[in-house]
C-alpha cells in the first residue's frame, strides 16, 4: 500500500500536472493499438467472408469432387452408383448480380428435389405442396432473409451476360447476411449459366468408418484422372492460405505505428528520469532499492500503455469499419470474391492488441528505467540533469550503427523462411535500429552546421534552437528517430507503390494493345469469370472495322493446393498484336512459336515464384476428366493478379474443356476504322446482352483506379504513423519548453520579445522536422529497396522496376514538415506565456 502511495506521489502525480503531454503520449499508444486491432479485425472480416455463404449452405460434408472447367454431370450418377452409403450433393456455384441494387451474390444451384426429399434440407425450403411444385421451375429462386425480399416477389438478375426475371419462392435464414445467397435448382442454374452437362462441385458425406482417407481413396478409383476428390472446404482453406501473405504484410505495416510509439514512450520515460534525477537520488539515499526505482519507471510506462490500449481498442474497432471496406475491395480485385462480414471484436485480437500496446510501452521504457535504477544517489543529487543529457557516446553508437546496418544488408539477401520474407522484415527492423544508433552523430553534425548557417538567415534564435537541440542530444535523437522512422516507412512505401505503379503502366502498354475490350456486366473479381455467349463473339468478329478479336477464357484451377487462374488466348492474335515481356528476355514471336509447337503453357511470374516453376519444367493440370502435363515454355510478367496464372493456347484448351464461351474479348480495329463508330456498331450488335465495352484508355484508367484503391490502406497506415510521430514531437517540445523554462525566462530578462521566443521554439520544431526528413528520406530509400526487391518479391512474386516518384514523397514530406512546425505552435504558446520572474527564481 505504501509503495502504491509512493508510486502515485512520485510517478503519477507529475504526469497529472502535465495533462497535455500525458494525453499526447497516451494517444500515441492508443493510435498504435488501434491500428493493429483495426487491421486484424478488418482482415478477418474481409478474408473470412468469401467462404461463408457457400460453405454454410453446403452443410456438413466430408469430401468434395472438383476439376477445372467443371465436373461432368454423368459422374454424379457414377458416384451414386457406388456400393457405399454415401450422400451425394451436386452443386453449381457462381455469381449473379441483383440488377436493382447492383449487389453481387453467390448463385447456388442445388439438387432441390433431393434436398427437399431429405426434409427441408440445409436451406430450409419447407415442405409445403407449393414448394414442391416450384422446385425445378427455371424462374424459381430462394433468397437469404437478409436481402429483405418476400416470397412471391419478382427480381431481375444478371447472370453472365443475360438478365432474367425470377420469382422468389422462399426465404431461408442466412446468419444475418454472412450466408446471403441466391439458390435455385441445379438444372435451372445450369440453364441460366449455360453450363450444360457440367457441375462445379459434388459434395459427399461419408460414413465415419473406415476413415476419410480410405473413402477418398475408394472414391478416387471411381473417377477419371483429372477429377480431384479432396476434403470438403479445401477451396476455402486454399483461399485463406492465399490471403495469408496479404494479411501478413498489412499486419506488419500496422505495427510500424507501434514502433513509432515505442520511440515516444522511450522519450517520455527518459524525460521522466531526467526530470526526477534528483528525486531518484534522494529516494535511493533514503533506502529505495534499484529494483524499486526500475519498477517505478516501468510502472509509469505500463500505466501509459494500459491507458493507451484501453483508448485504442474502441478506436480500433471503429477504424476497422473503414479498413474492412478497403481491404474487402482489394481482396476481391486481387484474390477472391469477398463480401465484408460483420466485424467481431473477439478476444484473441483484442487481447493481442492490448498486450502489444502495454508490452511495447514497457519494453521501450526498460532502458531509461534501468539507467535510472543504476544512478548512484550522490551523483544524482550533485550533478542534476545536465550530466545525464550529455552522456551519449556518438562515436561508439556510430560503430554500432555500421555493424547493425551490415547485418541488415546480410539479412536482406537471405531467402524466404517458411514462405514468408521474415528475414526481409528483420532487415527492416535492423535498419531502423541502425538509423537510431546513427542519429546522435547526425543530429550533432546537422545542428552544428545549422547553427552557423541559420544564424545569418534566422538570427540568434536559430543559434539558440540548434544549440538547445544538440545539448539534449539523446532526447533530440530519440525524437528525430521516431519521426524519421515514420517518414522512412512513408517514403519507402511511396517509392515502392510509385515504382509498382510505373511498372504496371509499362506492363499495360504491352498487355493491353487492343482498341476495345468487352466483358460481361457486373463487378469484376479475381475469381469470377462470367462468360459471353459464343454467338455474340462471332457476330462481333464479323462487324466492319473489326480486324481481329482475341477470345480470352478464364477458369479457376487449383494447383498444389493453391488457387490459380487458367487462361486461354488465341496465339495468332497474340503473335500479331502483342509484344509481351518474358523473364527470359526472349522475343514474343519466338516464345509463341515454341508454345504452339510444344503444346506448352506460359506461367505468370507470381505463379512461377509461388510454385517454384521455371521455363523447361512440366506442370500437371487437372482439366475436365483428364490430367495432363504441359511444358512451361516461359514465364511472363503479370500484375493483374497475385494468385498466379497459367496461359494456354485456346485451341489446345478446347481439346480438354470444350466450352467455347469466352470471359473477355479484346477487339482490334482495322487501321482506318474509327473507335467511336465500331463501338456504336458493337453496342447495336450486343443489344439484349449485358456486357460492358471499354476503350483501351478506359480500361487502363479502371486498372489504375483499382491499383490506387489497393494501396489506399497502406497510405492510411503510414499517415497514422506520421500523425503519431508529430503528436510525439508536440509532446516532446512541450516537455522541452517546461524543462528550459528558466532559460526562456532569462531570455525575456535579456530583452527577447514574445515573438522571438515563439520563433525560437518554432525553429526547434523546424530543425527536428528537417533532421527527421533528412534521415527519413535516406532510411526510406534503403527500406524501399528491401520492400521492392526482397519483401514484395518473396511475398507476392512480382518484379518491380525501381522508379523514384518525385511528386508523392515531396508533397508528403512538405506536409510532414509543415505538420512538425505546426506541432511547435502550442509549446511555443506555452513558452511565451511563461512568467519570467517566476521561472528565473525557481532554483
Amino acid at each position: 500500500m505504501q509503495r502504491t502511495i509512493l508510486f502515485y506521489q512520485l510517478i503519477l502525480r507529475p504526469l497529472l500536472r502535465e495533462p497535455v503531454r500525458t494525453v499526447l503520449t497516451i494517444l500515441a499508444i492508443a493510435l498504435g493499438v488501434a491500428m493493429v486491432l483495426a487491421i486484424d479485425l478488418a482482415g478477418t472480416a474481409a478474408a473470412g467472408s468469401f467462404q461463408s455463404s457457400v460453405e454454410t449452405l453446403a452443410g456438413k460434408n466430408d469430401l468434395e469432387v472438383v476439376t477445372a472447367g467443371g465436373v461432368p454431370e454423368n459422374l454424379v450418377g457414377s458416384l451414386e452408383g457406388l456400393p457405399y452409403p454415401l450422400k451425394i450433393a451436386p452443386r453449381i456455384e457462381d455469381y449473379a448480380v441483383v440488377v436493382e441494387t447492383k449487389q453481387t451474390l453467390p448463385l447456388l444451384g442445388l439438387d432441390l428435389v433431393a434436398e427437399a426429399g431429405r426434409g427441408a434440407g440445409s436451406i430450409g425450403l419447407g415442405d409445403e405442396a407449393d414448394t414442391w411444385k416450384y422446385l425445378t421451375s427455371k424462374e424459381s429462386i430462394w433468397l437469404g432473409e437478409s436481402l429483405g425480399r418476400k416470397s412471391g416477389e419478382t427480381i431481375t438478375l444478371l447472370i453472365n451476360d443475360q438478365t432474367g426475371t425470377y420469382t422468389v419462392r422462399g426465404i431461408f435464414p442466412d446468419l444475418h447476411g454472412s450466408a446471403a445467397a441466391i439458390v435455385m435448382d441445379i438444372s435451372a442454374a445450369q440453364s441460366a449459366l449455360k453450363r450444360f452437362g457440367r457441375i462445379d462441385r459434388v459434395l459427399i458425406q461419408t460414413p465415419s468408418y473406415p476413415g476419410l482417407e480410405e473413402w477418398q481413396q475408394r472414391i478416387r478409383t471411381a473417377l477419371p484422372d483429372g477429377v480431384q476428390v479432396r476434403a470438403a472446404g479445401a477451396g476455402t482453406n486454399e483461399n485463406r492460405r492465399m490471403l495469408a501473405a496479404f494479411r501478413w504484410n498489412l499486419r506488419l505495416l500496422s505495427y510500424i505505428a507501434l514502433v513509432v510509439g515505442a520511440f515516444l514512450i522511450y522519450n517520455t520515460i527518459s524525460v521522466s528520469v531526467v526530470r526526477r534525477r534528483t528525486e531518484i537520488g534522494i529516494v535511493r539515499a533514503l533506502g529505495a532499492s534499484q529494483s524499486l526505482v526500475l519498477a517505478a519507471f516501468v510502472g509509469e510506462a505500463a500505466c501509459l500503455g494500459v491507458l493507451g490500449a484501453l483508448v485504442g481498442m474502441p478506436l480500433g474497432r471503429f477504424l476497422a469499419g473503414g479498413a474492412v471496406q478497403l481491404m474487402g475491395a482489394t481482396v476481391e480485385a486481387l484474390y477472391v470474391t469477398s463480401r465484408p462480414g460483420a466485424i467481431a471484436l473477439t478476444s484473441t485480437p483484442t487481447l493481442l492488441a492490448f498486450f502489444l500496446g502495454v508490452g511495447v510501452a514497457v519494453a521501450s521504457a526498460y532502458s531509461p528505467a534501468r539507467e535510472a535504477s543504476l544512478v548512484p544517489p550522490i551523483e544524482a543529487m550533485a550533478h542534476g540533469r545536465r550530466e545525464y543529457g550529455t552522456r551519449v557516446n556518438k562515436a561508439r553508437d556510430l560503430w554500432i550503427a555500421l555493424a547493425v546496418g551490415l547485418a541488415a544488408m546480410a539479412a536482406s539477401f537471405a531467402p524466404a523462411l517458411v514462405g514468408k520474407p521474415l528475414l526481409g522484415y528483420f532487415a527492416i527492423l535492423l535498419l531502423i535500429c541502425a538509423s537510431a544508433f546513427a542519429m546522435p552523430a547526425l543530429v550533432d553534425l546537422v545542428t552544428g552546421i545549422a547553427s552557423r548557417l541559420l544564424k545569418q538567415v534566422l538570427g540568434v534564435e536559430a543559434v539558440l534552437a540548434s544549440r538547445s537541440l544538440s545539448s539534449s542530444l539523446r532526447r533530440t535523437s530519440v525524437l528525430v528517430g521516431a519521426l524519421s522512422t515514420a517518414i522512412a516507412m512513408m517514403t519507402a512505401v511511396g517509392i515502392m507503390v510509385g515504382s509498382f505503379r510505373e511498372t504496371v503502366l509499362l506492363w499495360m502498354n504491352d498487355q493491353l494493345p487492343a482498341d476495345l475490350y468487352l466483358r460481361p456486366a457486373g463487378s469484376p473479381a479475381a475469381d469470377r469469370h462470367p462468360t459471353i455467349a459464343v454467338e455474340l463473339t462471332d457476330k462481333i468478329a464479323r462487324l466492319p472495322g473489326v480486324a481481329a478479336i482475341d477470345r480470352l477464357r478464364e477458369y479457376e484451377i487449383s494447383y498444389e493446393d493453391m488457387p490459380a487462374g487458367l487462361g486461354s488466348v488465341e496465339l495468332n492474335i497474340l503473335r500479331s498484336y502483342h509484344n509481351a515481356d518474358f523473364l527470359s528476355g526472349r522475343k514474343t514471336n519466338e516464345v509463341l512459336t515454341e508454345l504452339r509447337d510444344s503444346n506448352g503453357v506460359l506461367v505468370s511470374e507470381p505463379f512461377a515464384n509461388k510454385h517454384r516453376v521455371k521455363a523447361g519444367d512440366y506442370i500437371t493440370l487437372s482439366l475436365g476428366e483428364r490430367r495432363a502435363a504441359f511444358p512451361v515454355v516461359d514465364v511472363y510478367y503479370d500484375y493483374s493478379s497475385e494468385r498466379g496464372s497459367v496461359l494456354i493456347d485456346r485451341d489446345l484448351l478446347l481439346r480438354y474443356l470444350p466450352d467455347p464461351a469466352v470471359s473477355n474479348l479484346a477487339i482490334y480495329l482495322a487501321p482506318t476504322a474509327s473507335v467511336e463508330e465500331v463501338r456504336a456498331e458493337i453496342e447495336n450488335a450486343v443489344a439484349g446482352h449485358q456486357v460492358l465495352i471499354f476503350t483501351n484508355r478506359d480500361l487502363r484508367g479502371e486498372a489504375l483506379r483499382i491499383f490506387d484503391r489497393t494501396f489506399a490502406i497502406t497510405y492510411a497506415l503510414e499517415a497514422i504513423a506520421v500523425l503519431i510521430a508529430v503528436m510525439g514531437i508536440a509532446g516532446a517540445l512541450l516537455a522541452l519548453v517546461i524543462d528550459r523554462r528558466r532559460e526562456l525566462g532569462l531570455l525575456r530578462f535579456l530583452g527577447a520579445a514574445s515573438g522571438q521566443i515563439r520563433k525560437l521554439i518554432l525553429i526547434e520544431a523546424g530543425l527536428i522536422g528537417m533532421l527527421a526528413n533528412l534521415a527519413g528520406v535516406g532510411l526510406g530509400f534503403a527500406l524501399s529497396l528491401i520492400l521492392i526487391y526482397v519483401i514484395n518479391k518473396q511475398s507476392f512474386g512480382w518484379t518491380i522496376r525501381f522508379h523514384w516518384p518525385v511528386a508523392m514523397p515531396l508533397g508528403a514530406l512538405t506536409m510532414v514538415y509543415a505538420a512538425t512546425v505546426l506541432a511547435g505552435l502550442y509549446p511555443a504558446r506555452i513558452a511565451v506565456r511563461l512568467n519570467p520572474v517566476e521561472v528565473a527564481h525557481e532554483e
Binding site: R386, G459, V460, V463, L464, R467, S468, S470, S471, R742, E743, L746, L747, R748, F749, L750, G751, A752, A753, S754, G755, Q756, P836, V837, A840, H841, E843
Partner: protein, 225 residues
Amino acid sequence: MPILSIQGVSKDYLTDEQPVRALNNVSLEISRGEFVALVGRSGCGKSTLLSLAGAMDFPTSGTVQVNGVATASLQDDALARLRREKIGFVFQSFQLIHTLTVFENVELPLLLAGKRNARQTATERLAWVELDGFGLRYPHQLSGGQMQRVAIARALVQSPAVLLADEPTGNLDSTTGNVILGLLQRLTRQENTATIMATHNAEAAILADVLVRMRDGQITEVTRR
C-alpha cells in the same frame, strides 16, 4: 530627472485565490550613477521591487517609470525593447546559458536586438570584468565568481541606464563576493549607471551610495550617503 521613478506602488499576488500584498505604497527615485542597496529579510519585497523596476512585472497600483516612460503603458515589443536598451539584470544563480560560450552569452542581448559588431562589444565588456581570454569557454568551465562576472558583462553589454542585481553575491564565498561588489561599484561609476542591488550582504550595504531598508513590503528607511 531620475532614471527610475517608483511612485505609490503596491503589488498584490494571488496565492490560493487569496490576494497577498508584496509591496505596499512604495515610492523611490534613483538617478544615474547611484549605487543602491535594497536590504531586508527574505520575503520583504526586494525581488518584487526589482521585477517592477525591470519592467518584468507591473504594479497593481501606482506607477513605475524608466527614463520617464511608464512601464504599464507599453506593449510587449516596446517592453522588450526597453529591457534590452535600458535595463541590465544580474541574478544570484548567474543564469548563464550552458549551451553557449562566454562570448555568446555576453553578446546574446545584442543579437536579440539585431545589433551588429556584437562580438567586439562582448570582448570589450569581458575586458571590463577582467575576463579577457575566457570568451571561448563554456560556463561549466568557469568558477562561480567568473560566471557572475560573465553575467555582469552580459548585463552591461547594451550600456543600460539601470542595472538590477538580485543577490549577486548570494552564491559566492565572501572573498569572491567582495570582488564582485567592487566590480559593480566601479562599473556604476564608470558607466554612470543606476545600479540597484537586493542583498543580505553587510559589505554591500556599506559600499552603497543609497541604502534602502524594506520590511513587510514597505520602505522603512532611505539613507543617502
